[in-house]
């Protein structure tokens, strides 16, 4: 079995994986970082979004081996200790979640959007969320959260 090494949330980790092991399986099952969720098997829902070398990636669409040597950030790595990331804070403030299952993927996706486009319009947010499904919220409050989160990230 090939072995992979990467930095996850600032910590060096390594492990043996089968060639077919997906990044999301490595994170959830080997590292027990269960904040990254699996909502589908066709790469459509975005519950699994993490950052790999600073960009949002669907962790169900990438092999663990492909992330060898990469910097990976998951939802668990976003807050600084007790201090929430502004995007996390914004989701909380704006009721941007209900069951919370899509939320980690939404937040990771939103952080990437705001980094690339610090002042996204409502339409840009909705278009950016094309790869993320939420079944609970109707998106209204997610869009609101992302707008507020992006604003807070601008500082």
């Amino acid at each position: 079995m090939p072995s992979v090494s990467m930095t996850v949330n600032g910590k060096a980790v390594s492990g043996d994986v089968e060639g077919r092991t997906l990044l999301v399986e490595f994170l959830r099952e080997k590292l027990r970082l269960t904040g990254t969720h699996v909502g589908c098997d066709t790469s459509q829902c975005g519950a699994c979004v993490v950052h790999v070398d600073g960009e949002s990636v669907k962790a169900c669409t990438m092999l663990a081996a492909q992330a060898d040597g990469a910097e990976v950030m998951t939802i668990e790595g976003l807050a600084q200790g007790d201090k929430l990331h502004p995007m996390q804070e914004a989701f909380r403030e704006n009721h941007g979640l209900q069951c919370g299952f899509c939320t980690p993927g939404m937040i990771m996706s939103a952080v990437d959007l705001a980094r690339n486009n610090p002042d996204p319009s409502e339409k840009e947010i909705r278009d950016w969320l094309e790869g993320n499904i939420c079944r609970c919220t109707g998106y209204h409050n997610i869009v609101k959260s992302i707008k507020a989160g992006a604003e807070a990230m601008r500082g």
Binding site: R20, R92, G100, F101
Partner: protein, 789 residues
């Protein structure tokens, strides 16, 4: 405590763990020595199983066991929780629903064998090696021909009829139709939906041979009911030896109410193998193993006098049950559907005729709204069509037929008595918010841009908090429909509430705590809500049908009353006063007319440290339980207005605005209630525009993944505007009605009414859901072609 109590938009207590990725969903749980199950499912809609060869699978790497129907021979099938009696006292046909298929498979996805291995990947690999010799049989797919089909899904139901049921006064309806000035007739389909909670179902079985206790972790909306059904009817194990625990659950919308085969499978397998067994559905598997929703074909007729007053309504519905009866399935097209056919109107006579049919498809059961969306859709569509035929305004025809505020309580001809409502109030608010009067100008403006614009209205009513038990029982429910709450005041004054309601996104940890904060004057951070674990909570009925606040919240309120009552007696003792003179205000007990007072926390401590305590009059401790069985349903209602713009070249529909005015009675947390409305609207609009479950003629599910089933995404919706009016429920202590399903009930007809309005120049009187661009394009372009001829 008003900044935290009832009526305050408090931020949710549960959010912190979710936004940090620290929620604990069933699949996040890993037990020592856990093994993994993969389920071999039927690729055929209908087939005989001649032989199952598991030898290759057993020999595959990592495999620790393979189970087939023979391993479950000692157990019962999955029980149906609702018995419907049809016309002429004919009981419904209730064929066995085996845990694993016995001799025949009856839908694509029917579970046939289970492979358990050291890892999930090994289990899946080995599952491919189970060889099954199937002999395909003719499949019954289209429910419209199912009753004459020749082929049958079950031997017990040769003609595929599960029940033939009727509600209403046939003679009165026929008489009214005879004297009607106008009759409007409409045939429509309520499309089959896949609930698609984002968390796929998951179940873990564990068995402790020292204590003889089974534990089932399952992503369920009602753990106690699963324990009851599985313990008593399927596995026949004593209930107290079975713990069912549903931790964080990633959405349900009804699909996680039911007792599913996988729960029994992992529970049995864990005992057989002597180690924990986990099964996690993937999405493709969810499409063929989670119960689906809706799926009605209906003909509806509305009889009117010449002023447009409704004289009678008659409908005939074919309801698809799928291949087996899921836990609540028979109640959906019957009691949960036909009893809402009066809507907000004074229609004096109504007749509903429902035939439920078996087909070789996934079982159909309650999905957000469960019966009420189907009723509302046919009613609000036929009313719009009637208005059009009568040359009346769609608002005026509704207004003319509304039940008036002074007519409550109002007994409908279909078995319900509405307690309160003010339909004019929600209508007026919605029309104003949506600028109904300004629409024609917007339509003209759109026309100049080459777009077709339409506006649609729907006035819905729903029945929440199904109850009371004696009525539910008379209607065929095999369970009681009360709820429980235990309020445990700890010695230091903090509070744990054990509730039978289950939160899977609804925010109970906040809302329920607000009720307690309000009643007991305690800070929210001092209150924890415990739910989902049968070893911790009293026997409860779970969460579905918007029952949590109306029934569970009411139980909680009553338990708080008992706490205050007992605490008042303790306080009276402490202050050497008569309990009659002690009042509880803002967290303190006071003797009226004096300055004597004692804080709630001191009373709590006294209850547990009874050094100075009236032990001859009162027991120590401060913990109370209430079971609440409501007197009636609650009846939320409202008006929704949808405005659409259609691009004639492509048929694409854009919802340009959507407004919801609801009456949910008293509201505990407006922010959470709005969120619930948004979510419901998205599911209803999803049904109207995008979602559809398609089977081919052989019974293969064509729309079986997110690539083929159109899930609503952020760009499909506008920002919704919502508001609420209040008429308090008259028969529960909080005056609440419930809000979870409304959005999904009221929005489909509002959307379709708007689309039909936009297309009225093309001679369109109806369009079936989902109103896809392709369908609309054909109408517009067919219409254009016709116009050019």
């Amino acid at each position: 405590m008003t900044d935290q109590g009832i009526g305050a938009s408090v931020r949710r207590k549960e959010d912190l763990r979710f936004i940090k990725g620290r929620g604990k969903y069933t699949d996040d749980i890993v037990l020592q020595d856990m093994s993994y199950a993969a389920i071999v499912r039927s690729p055929h809609a209908h087939a005989k199983i001649n032989r199952i060869d598991t030898s290759a699978a057993r020999a595959a790497p990592g495999v620790v066991g393979v189970l087939t129907a023979d391993d479950f021979a000692a157990f019962g099938g999955l029980p149906c929780g609702w018995q419907v009696t049809g016309k002429n006292e004919q009981p419904m046909i209730e064929p066995k629903h085996p845990i694993l298929a016995e001799g025949k498979v009856r839908h694509v996805g029917d579970p046939v064998a289970v492979v358990i291995a050291e890892s999930r990947a090994q289990a899946r690999d080995a599952a491919e090696l189970v060889e099954i010799d199937y002999e395909p049989l003719p499949a019954v797919v289209d429910m419209r021909s199912a009753l004459e089909d020749g082929a049958s899904v079950h031997d017990e139901a040769g003609d595929n009829l599960c029940y033939d049921w009727e509600l209403g006064d046939r003679e009165a309806v026929e008489a009214a139709f005879r004297k009607a000035d106008h009759v409007t007739t409409l045939e429509l389909i309520n499309n089959r939906l896949v609930p698609n909670a984002m968390e796929p179902r998951c179940a873990i079985g564990d068995f402790d041979d020292a204590s003889g206790e089974h534990t089932l972790y399952t992503s369920s909306q009602n753990p106690h009911v699963i324990r009851l059904l599985m313990g008593a009817f399927v596995l026949q194990i004593p209930e107290h030896k079975l713990r069912v625990y549903s931790p964080d659950v990633g959405g349900g919308f009804g699909s996680k109410i039911y007792h599913y085969a996988e729960e029994a499978i992992v529970t049995v397998a864990a005992k057989v193998l002597g180690r924990p067994v986990k099964w996690t559905s993937d999405r493709t598997e969810a499409f063929i193993s989670d119960a689906h929703g809706r799926d009605h074909v209906t003909k509806v007729e509305l009889a009117m006098d010449k002023e447009g007053r409704f004289l009678a309504l008659r409908e005939q519905t074919l309801a698809n049950m799928g291949a087996y009866l899921s836990t609540f399935a028979p109640s959906i097209p019957t009691y949960l559907h036909a009893t809402l056919l009066a809507g907000q109107y004074t229609t004096p006579a109504i007749l509903a005729e429902v035939k439920a049919v078996f087909t070789n498809t996934v079982p159909v059961d309650a999905y957000r709204g469960a019966g009420r969306p189907e009723a509302t859709y046919l009613l609000e569509r036929v009313i719009d069509l009637a208005a059009d035929e009568m040359g009346m305004d769609p608002v005026e025809i509704r207004r003319k037929n509304f039940i008036q505020p002074d007519q409550f309580p109002y007994a409908t001809p279909v078995a319900l008595t509405y307690d309160t409502g003010d339909y004019e109030a929600t209508l007026t608010a919605a029309l104003k918010a949506a600028d109904w009067d300004g629409f024609e100008a917007r339509r003209e403006e759109a026309k100049r841009k080459g777009k077709l614009r339409g506006i649609g209205i729907a006035c819905y009513i729903e029945a929440c908090g199904i109850a009371p038990s004696n009525i539910a029982g008379a209607l065929g429910a095999r369970a009681g429909l009360y709820e429980c709450a235990t309020v445990r005041v700890n010695p230091t004054g903090s509070i744990q509430v054990m509730t039978g309601s289950h939160s899977h996104g609804q925010g109970h940890e906040t809302t329920f705590a607000q009720v307690v904060a309000d009643r007991l004057g305690i800070g929210l951070d001092q209150i924890d809500i415990v739910h989902g674990d049968t070893n911790k909570i009293p026997f409860g009925m779970g969460t579905y049908g918007s029952r949590s606040i109306a029934v569970g919240g009411a139980a909680l309120s009553n338990a708080c009353d008992k706490i205050v009552n007992k605490a008042t007696k303790i306080a009276a003792h402490l202050m050497e006063a008569s309990a009659d003179d002690v009042v509880f205000e803002n967290g303190s007990f006071k003797v009226t007319g004096t300055d004597k007072q004692v804080a709630f926390g001191d009373v709590a401590l006294t209850a547990y440290v009874p050094h100075n305590y009236p032990l001859d009059e009162l027991e120590p401790g401060l913990e109370e339980t209430a079971f609440y069985d409501p007197k009636n349903f609650t009846f939320p209602a409202g008006t929704y207005v949808c405005e659409v713009e259609i691009e004639p070249q492509t048929g694409a529909v854009e919802i340009v605005s959507f407004h919801a005015s609801d009456d949910f009675g008293n509201v505990i947390n407006p922010m959470i209630v709005e969120g619930q409305v948004h979510g419901g609207l998205a599911q209803g609009i999803g049904q109207a525009l995008l979602e559809n479950t398609v089977y081919d003629n052989e019974g293969q599910l064509v729309s079986g993944t997110y690539m083929d089933y159109c899930m609503p995404r952020a760009y499909n919706f506008p920002n919704f505007t919502v508001d609420h009016q209040v008429t308090a429920c008259t028969h529960n202590p909080l005056g609440v009605k419930g809000c979870g399903e409304a959005g999904a009930i009221g929005s489909p007809p509002a959307v379709i009414n708007a689309i039909v309005d936009a297309l009225k120049d093309y001679g369109v009187s109806h369009i079936d859901m989902p109103a896809t661009p392709a369908k609309i394009w054909r109408i517009v372009n067919g219409g254009m072609a016709a116009a050019a001829e």
